[in-house]
């Protein structure tokens, strides 16, 4: 609890004028969707949202100052992820970085492309666009290395394998996949989407040997709208955007200075407390998992099965419950959770990740993803353990009761 900034755990939801007057405790369990801004990131950004400004590509003192801020941020990102500063290409976020990796490599060197069946849409859709195919995962949600082995051809141009999955949190065998690719398809590049992993795993170890890495700022306590593609020298890569030639001709467009500065600060802060947070949040997540599985005995924890998972992610499939209805009830009592990824209209779609793990639509219909992060507290877990089983009971018609909102703590 000590790491949460003051006020974070006690802010009441802004009262809605027509929803009665019970103020509700806010329990944010959707860190895999986005994370609250870290104070270090906010502090680093504030000058660039205030008196400081500048186009880093200019040739005067204002521009130079902005350039310096971007360069120092580049150093910071490189330091955290374990690459050279010159390998960092700042983008508008993880999706752009993933698109650039897949489409940029394919444009530079057309040929077969592979990705795992559980990639985020930001990888899956560009891979489909360039005519690529997917490699199966096992029921734990781990890439099937035998299937990869069978799919590899010497003319492969790119393999994309995420470091850890965004829905179920299962960590992928990136190092083993890299080894296979180097042996069987030495000309191929390997891309890893480390958007979810960046806050939890030491990227130096995760990305050792890969050619391309996508990271996103807002998943690690930085601002939204900024990310980076780490591209090792010599990786064949074409830009997605043409223009002024910023970022070594790879990403045209004036730099988002405040965002870049905030992202670097967030990554540094996340790395500094990574080990402490891993054990702290991991323990919270485990208590939440044990409590929910005890209270909802037929709930099934999705995937994993001995494979490593991110410390913050808990994914359950709850029989006899529909995700949308459960999320509605949880929202009413101030628990923010998710079923999986949300589409543009806010509607839920059947999860390709669960399908790839062999989980049928009936079981998957009760999917619940609870993702903890750097602001999560014991009180969050207590609140979730109080209201989630009650909401499940209500939806199953077991009892005619509703999860009661907690008393709003006095500020």
């Amino acid at each position: 609890m000590g790491v949460a900034p003051a006020g974070c755990e006690t802010d009441p939801v802004p009262e809605r004028p027509h929803r009665g007057d019970q103020p509700t405790r806010l329990t944010y369990l959707d860190h895999a969707a986005t994370t609250p801004l870290r104070p270090a990131a906010r502090d680093a950004m504030l000058p660039w949202l205030g008196e400081r400004f500048g186009n880093p590509s200019g040739d005067h003192r204002v521009a130079r100052a902005a350039r310096q801020a971007v360069d120092e941020a580049r150093d910071g990102v490189a330091d955290v992820v374990g690459c050279r500063p010159g390998d960092v290409v700042f983008t508008s976020g993880g999706t752009e970085a993933d698109n650039m990796a897949v489409r940029g490599v394919h444009a530079a060197r057309p040929g077969p492309v592979l990705c795992s069946a559980i990639e985020h849409d930001a990888v899956r859709n560009p891979v489909a666009l360039v005519g690529g195919t997917t490699v199966a995962v096992d029921t734990r949600g781990v890439l099937d290395l035998d299937a990869l082995d069978a799919a590899l051809t010497p003319d492969l141009t790119l393999l994309a394998l995420m470091s850890a999955n965004n829905e179920v949190g299962v960590v992928q065998p990136v190092a083993e996949a890299v080894e296979l690719v180097r042996r069987r398809a030495p000309a191929a590049a390997v891309h890893t989407d480390a958007v979810q992993a960046a806050g939890w795993l030491d990227l130096r170890a995760t990305i050792a040997g890969v050619d391309l890495v996508a990271v996103s700022s807002h998943k690690v306590g930085g601002p939204q709208g900024v990310g980076a593609l780490i591209a090792r020298p010599g990786t064949p890569l074409r830009p997605l955007l043409l223009g002024g030639g910023q970022e070594r001709e790879l990403r045209s467009g004036t730099h988002n200075v405040a965002g870049i500065v905030g992202m670097a600060a967030a990554l540094r802060a996340a790395a500094a407390e990574r080990n402490a947070q891993r054990s702290r949040v991991g323990a919270l997540r485990d208590r939440l998992a044990e409590g929910l599985l005890a209270a909802i005995p037929d709930a099934v924890r999705t995937g994993g099965g001995g494979a490593p998972r991110l410390p913050g992610t808990l994914h359950l499939c709850i029989p006899g419950v529909e995700s949308e209805a459960l999320l509605f009830l949880l929202d009413e009592v101030g628990v923010c959770a998710s079923a999986a990824s949300a589409c543009a209209s806010g509607a839920h779609q059947a999860s390709h990740v669960l399908a790839a793990m062999g989980i049928g639509p009936e079981v998957g219909a009760g999917a619940l993803r609870l993702s903890l992060g750097w602001t999560s507290t014991d009180a969050d877990v207590d609140h979730a353990l109080r209201v989630i089983p009650a909401a499940v009971d209500l939806l199953r018609g077991a009892e005619d009761r509703r999860p009661e909102p907690a008393e709003a703590p006095r500020a």
């Binding site: 004028p17 929803r19 529909e322 009413e332 209209s345």
Partner: protein, 350 residues
């Protein structure tokens, strides 16, 4: 009272939500995501979800999007395609009300603690002295939607609010203007939400049915024309049959899909004295008693009511005898039965 408003992103449900809030209810907005394919306006394009959400923001209520696209495919789209395949007339809006808005949505709402659901339909719900509820025509005769809501019975009627049923469309728009709702001038949705004006019914069905060319024969069985897609021919149709010009107008009087044969004849062959209904729904949950006065039978969404007498057959069938000869009702078309302005039931032409 806690009320869940089905917000389509149109002006009617926007005003419905605003009126319920003004009346002091505890309101939440839900937009159903039903159709994942192309759409002009309909109910469920992303832009309509956006409109619903923006109105909810303006009104200060929570808004959720619920996906019922699989139910929609199963209960609305598939039967729509199948009806064409069989040469019958589909009623997608009625099936959507029957299975989605007033079943799936009502059940989901109940599950999350909202016993009452409101929609922006132009119809009213009236309560009789004995406590029985009935659906009644909306105040705006031109916009009345009671026809597509005949599938509601007591269980649904008792849990439904139709807050704009007392208003004319002009009054709804004026109220939206006064409240500054962004949907105030949004055009009314047209026709079937999953059929686009660009591709039309033919384009939609073409990907789902192998159209069959059909013979067009007269009452004596002689070939008089041909059609390239017997699945697109409707009883009562006059054009597009490849008939030679001149002579008295001839109409499609029968479509026999299995043999891909369209029969044409003079208008009198289209006339009939009665129509048998199946899948009949009685608003009061039971058939009306015998020896009733004539009722009004409406045989299409905007058709004129026809005077008729009804003979219930069992619980879910009925015979509707018209007081005078009337145009035949196409197989699959819904016939809605009114006593005055009030719906007493309805069914599908067998």
């Amino acid at each position: 009272m806690r009320v869940l408003v089905a917000m389509s992103g149109g002006v009617d449900s926007s005003v419905a939500a605003a009126r319920l809030i003004a009346a002091g209810h505890d309101v939440v907005g839900v937009t159903m995501k039903l159709w994942g394919g192309e759409s002009d306006t309909g109910c469920c394009s992303v832009s309509d979800v956006d409109d619903a959400r923006r109105v909810a923001q303006q009104l200060g209520i929570a808004h959720h999007t619920w996906t019922f696209s699989e139910d929609f495919d199963r209960h609305v789209v598939d039967p729509y395609v199948d009806a064409h395949r069989r040469g019958a007339t589909p009623n997608p809006c009625i099936e959507c009300n029957r299975h989605l808005k007033f079943d799936r949505l009502l059940r989901r709402a109940q599950a999350v603690g909202y016993a009452t659901v409101a929609t922006g339909h132009h119809a009213r719900i009236v309560t009789h002295a004995d406590g029985t509820r009935r659906l009644a025509r909306g105040a705006d005769a031109a916009k009345d939607q009671s026809y597509v809501l005949y599938v509601l019975r007591q269980a649904e009627l008792s849990r439904t609010l139709l807050p704009v049923g007392e208003l004319t469309k002009a009054e709804v728009r004026a109220e939206a203007e006064t409240l500054g709702l962004r949907t105030a001038r949004k055009p009314d949705s047209q026709d079937v939400c999953f059929i686009t004006s660009g591709r039309g019914r033919r384009g939609f069905l073409g990907g789902r049915i192998d159209f069959r060319a059909g013979r067009v024969v007269d009452e004596a069985g002689r070939d008089v024309g041909s059609v390239d897609a017997v699945e697109l021919v409707t009883v009562g149709q006059r054009r597009g049959l490849g008939l030679p010009g001149g002579g008295a107008p001839r109409y499609v009087v029968d479509v026999d899909a299995p043999s891909a044969t369209v029969r044409v004849g003079p208008e009198r062959d289209l006339l009939c004295e009665q129509v048998a209904l199946e899948r009949v729904v009685w608003s009061a949950d039971r058939p009306p008693g015998a020896s009733r006065a004539p009722i009004a039978a409406q045989c299409s969404a905007h058709g004129s009511p026809r005077s008729a007498r009804i003979e219930p057959v069992g619980n879910d069938r009925a015979l509707v005898r018209f007081e005078r000869w009337e145009r035949r009702v196409a197989r699959g078309q819904s016939v809605v039965l009114y006593e005055g302005d009030e719906v007493i039931g309805g069914g599908v032409a067998a």
